[in-house]
């Protein structure tokens, strides 16, 4: 537990990604997104929980009108449960509130693909995904 907390703190306060400091699934996922983000943008340095938070709450115009933001289904407060338009309750997306999350990279990618299309009307960039995950890991 401890190393995870330290990692999360490092990520959110210093915004520095410790290279291969830990082998947890969310860290492996972040390392993959980091490599992709760096490849796409030479200026890229690190993910930011601040940007991730803004992304989570921002109302985009490109997707479905009834779900303009990630927060539409996942709650503005990621530590609280959310709700889909179908009425179904969704467990909190903050890692601290639902520790079983982000354990399966294929699942994470599948939902980024679906939900980004739903909210933004396009795929999310590696940086957007990394920022959002960083925010959730630190919550």
């Amino acid at each position: 537990m401890k190393p995870k907390l330290i990692l999360a703190l490092a990520l959110s306060s210093l915004a520095v990604l410790p290279l291969a400091a830990q082998a947890g699934p969310i860290d492996a996922q972040l390392a993959t997104y980091k490599a992709a983000a760096a490849a796409a943008d030479a200026q890229f340095t690190a993910f930011s929980a601040e940007r991730g938070k803004a992304f989570h709450n921002r109302a985009f115009g490109g997707g479905k009108p009834d779900t303009p933001a990630c927060a539409s289904c996942h709650n503005e407060n990621p530590r609280a449960a959310g709700r889909a338009p179908t009425g179904k309750v969704i467990e909190p997306v903050a890692l601290s509130a639902t520790p079983t999350r982000y354990a399966d990279p294929a699942k994470v990618e599948k939902w980024f693909t679906r939900n980004c299309k739903e909210v933004l009307g396009r795929a999310c960039s590696p940086q957007e995904k990394g920022d959002w995950l960083t925010y959730m890991a630190g919550q």
Partner: protein
């Protein structure tokens, strides 16, 4: 007057536990409105993430086949999955459909639909609509309900397959 169960538990929270306990024993006894819940964990993971996992006994096999053939356009959502998993889930749904193994429990919801039609919505089946004709409009719009397909909002034991309340 018969206890009108649905939605009351939401509005009168205190009654929920007693009512659902009663409901359950009665439903076990007559099994008239029992729809076996999905036991396959892969199906639950894929088909129970955006909404409750609907019992395959609520639609005929041909409906499931049609739905699984077009998951990319699933009621406005992209619910597509890889072909291998799709085949496994389709097999499960078809085997337990209203006109297959699910039928023996009384998948009576599908009664009255033409053999040639493959309805995709449970909530548009004539029998479902008849059962719900007395539900007032404000209940469907209630913030805990939101959608007709949100069975669990009113039928607290829906996840376990029970919809009886009389």
């Amino acid at each position: 007057m018969k206890t009108k169960f649905p939605l009351r538990p939401i509005l009168v929270a205190g009654l929920a536990l007693t009512a659902s306990a009663l409901l359950w024993t009665e439903a076990v006894a007559d099994g008239k409105h029992f729809f076996p819940p999905v036991t396959d964990t892969k199906v639950v993971a894929e088909c129970g993430s955006c909404h409750m996992t609907f019992s395959p006994a609520m639609l005929p096999a041909r409906s499931w086949q049609k739905m699984m053939g077009d998951l990319g356009k699933h009621f406005g959502d992209d619910a597509s999955i890889d072909p291998q998993l799709n085949a496994e889930i389709t097999a499960y749904l078809v085997n337990n459909a209203a006109d297959a193994n699910g039928g023996r429990y009384g998948g009576k919801l599908t009664r009255g639909i033409a053999a040639t039609s493959a309805p995709l919505r449970i909530t548009e089946l004539p029998k479902w609509q008849r059962e719900h004709r007395e539900v007032p409009a404000w209940e469907w719009r209630h913030k805990e309900v939101r959608s007709k397909a949100n069975c669990v909002a009113c039928h607290v034991d829906a996840e376990r397959g029970y919809y009886d309340d009389d």
